[in-house]
């Protein structure tokens, strides 16, 4: 009994200590981001890497998800004779929830894990120590561009997901089910509110990008310098970042005012 309590206590202490570490790490990444040089070339390369890694995945998934949404929404709305609102339902679902959340999860699985593995490999092969010995901060040289790349790429990829998803819904609704193309698009146009929908969607993309960027770089940076250590930090990046994205999604939705 006391053993169990002690273990629980020890775990809580570990957890809090881990959170403290992570916060300090985040602070040093932000400090690095504000310190020149900008490392624009590295940053562009990292954004390109994240984008290229995730592009096909986002396009394919967005399209399929849009198609499924079109079918599901049609099944429901047809019962109430509300087919003319199909565009609004598909579009709003994508903009407000599915676009940012699914993009967050997919990009975390693809690019976030690659970021953690990449930094972990640099730890293992001594590349980060090599930078330290040259008086170059690994946080500034490696971590900050990778974290910022995820932050920048995430809302862009999410926007892409939404556009492709709306198109997927259109294909199902208009081409397969034969509904009027005009009403699909105009119902979407009329339903979307800039602040409530578009800004909230962008905010989600940014927050998810921030979470994926910080968690993946932190896990990579602190991974044990062994092959197993790197693979553990890669796995935990995906798990932890995904859960954080889902939880923060609830709070943004709740607080932004539905």
């Amino acid at each position: 009994m006391t053993g169990a309590v002690a273990r629980l206590g020890a775990r809580s202490v570990d957890w809090v200590a881990g959170l403290g570490h992570m916060t300090r790490f985040a602070g040093s990444v932000v400090a690095a981001a504000l310190r020149p040089p900008l490392r624009g070339r590295t940053l562009v390369r990292e954004i390109y890497d994240v984008g290229v890694r995730s592009l096909a995945l986002i396009l394919g998934s967005g399209f399929v998800v849009g198609m499924v949404l079109g079918l599901q929404a049609y099944n429901t709305l047809a019962r109430f004779g509300a087919e003319q609102s199909l565009g609004a339902v598909v579009g709003l679902s994508l903009i407000r929830e599915l676009g940012p959340v699914l993009t967050g999860l997919l990009v975390t699985g693809r690019a976030g894990s690659a970021t953690a593995a990449g930094i972990g490999a640099m730890v293992t092969t001594g590349q980060l120590d090599g930078l330290r010995m040259m008086s170059i901060s690994p946080i500034h040289f490696v971590v900050y561009p990778k974290a910022l790349a995820l932050l920048i790429a995430m809302p862009l990829l999410s926007a892409l997901f939404i556009v492709v998803g709306v198109f997927g819904g259109y294909v199902v609704v208009v081409e397969l089910l034969g509904l009027d193309p005009g009403s699909y698009l105009s119902s979407l146009e009329n339903a979307v509110d800039f602040r409530d929908d578009v800004l909230a969607s962008v905010l989600k993309g940014v927050v998810f990008g921030l979470l994926a960027g910080l968690i993946s770089t932190y896990r990579g940076y602190t991974s044990e310098p062994t092959a197993e250590g790197v693979s553990r930090s890669t796995t935990s990046t995906v798990v932890v970042a995904s859960v954080c994205i889902l939880i923060s999604n609830y709070f943004i939705t709740a607080l932004w005012g539905v």
Binding site: M122, T125, G126, Q127, D129, G130, L131, R132, M133, M134, S135, I136, S137
Partner: protein
């Protein structure tokens, strides 16, 4: 040759000095009470079995690892307790050749060697280019500018890493097992390069090694790591001392060779 007795490494100025260093990772005690020194302008070879703490010793000197207790002095300055920013000053004096090179694998060899110049000097692109090419040529490399580290052979990679380690003109060069995994011609090449850096530029060099023959040839001073302690001295001293641990580690052939070399230098 008699000069070698006057500038006895044991009495010369210590460029790097570790005193009463204690370091443990969890329950694994790596150093109990480590005392050793590397004289200025000399080649010091650190010998020890796998896991004896050779790499850790170099990491202590570079400030990458803090000791639990004791002092690490580099060029008279205490390194332990310095923050990352203050360490910059000390690390400017140090070049480090990591065991596997530790070059950044996402950028070209040219960019790797140019990196410290870009980060810490105001040199323009032309100056950087000529400096990098001069350094690469000095380690016998050309036409490797565009290659990624992964595209080089082991020996070339080691030399490219050496070029990066010396590009900022350090006074101290730390080399972690520079000969490991290389074929004899490459061992000789690296040995010749290190010897030249020491003779011509007066670099203080600390080399960790398993490679007995080159250690005996190059080393002005040997440091033997065992069980968390160090035994230090010139090759001849270590051999003459007859410490059974030394003889056991060096092997009787090496002892005989060193004894022969020692006798030769006394005689001349």
């Amino acid at each position: 040759m008699t000069a070698s007795i006057e500038t006895d490494p044991a009495t010369g100025e210590a460029h790097v000095e570790l005193d009463s260093v204690r370091l443990a990772f969890g329950r694994r005690v790596v150093f109990r009470d480590l005392r050793c020194r590397a004289p200025r302008g000399r080649v010091t070879i650190v010998l020890g079995g796998s896991g004896s703490g050779k790499s850790t010793l170099l990491r202590l000197v570079g400030g990458l690892q803090r000791p639990d207790a004791g002092s690490v002095r580099v060029a008279g300055e205490e390194v332990t307790g310095l923050g990352e920013r203050e360490l910059t000053r000390v690390r400017r004096k140090i070049g480090m050749l990591f065991q596997n090179g530790a070059l950044l694998d996402s950028i070209s060899i040219f960019e790797n060697v140019a990196l410290p110049l870009r980060e810490h000097t105001a040199k323009d692109e032309l100056e950087i280019e000529s400096e990098v090419h001069r350094r690469l040529a000095s380690v016998g490399l050309d036409d490797v500018d565009e290659l990624l580290p992964g595209e080089l052979s082991g020996g070339m990679l080691r030399r490219a890493a050496l070029a990066r380690a010396i590009v900022m003109d350090p006074e101290i060069l730390l080399c972690d097992e520079p000969f490991s995994g290389l074929d004899p011609p490459n061992v000789e090449r690296i040995e010749a390069l290190l010897t030249r850096l020491n003779r011509e530029l007066g670099l203080t060099i600390i080399v960790t090694s398993h490679h007995m023959a080159s250690s005996m040839r190059m080393g002005d001073q040997l440091v033997l790591l065992r069980d968390g302690f160090a035994v230090g001295g010139t090759p001849a001293e270590l051999v003459a001392g007859g410490d059974p641990r030394v003889v056991e580690f060096l092997g009787s052939d090496a002892v005989a060779a060193a004894a022969g070399a020692g006798a030769g230098s006394v005689g001349s």
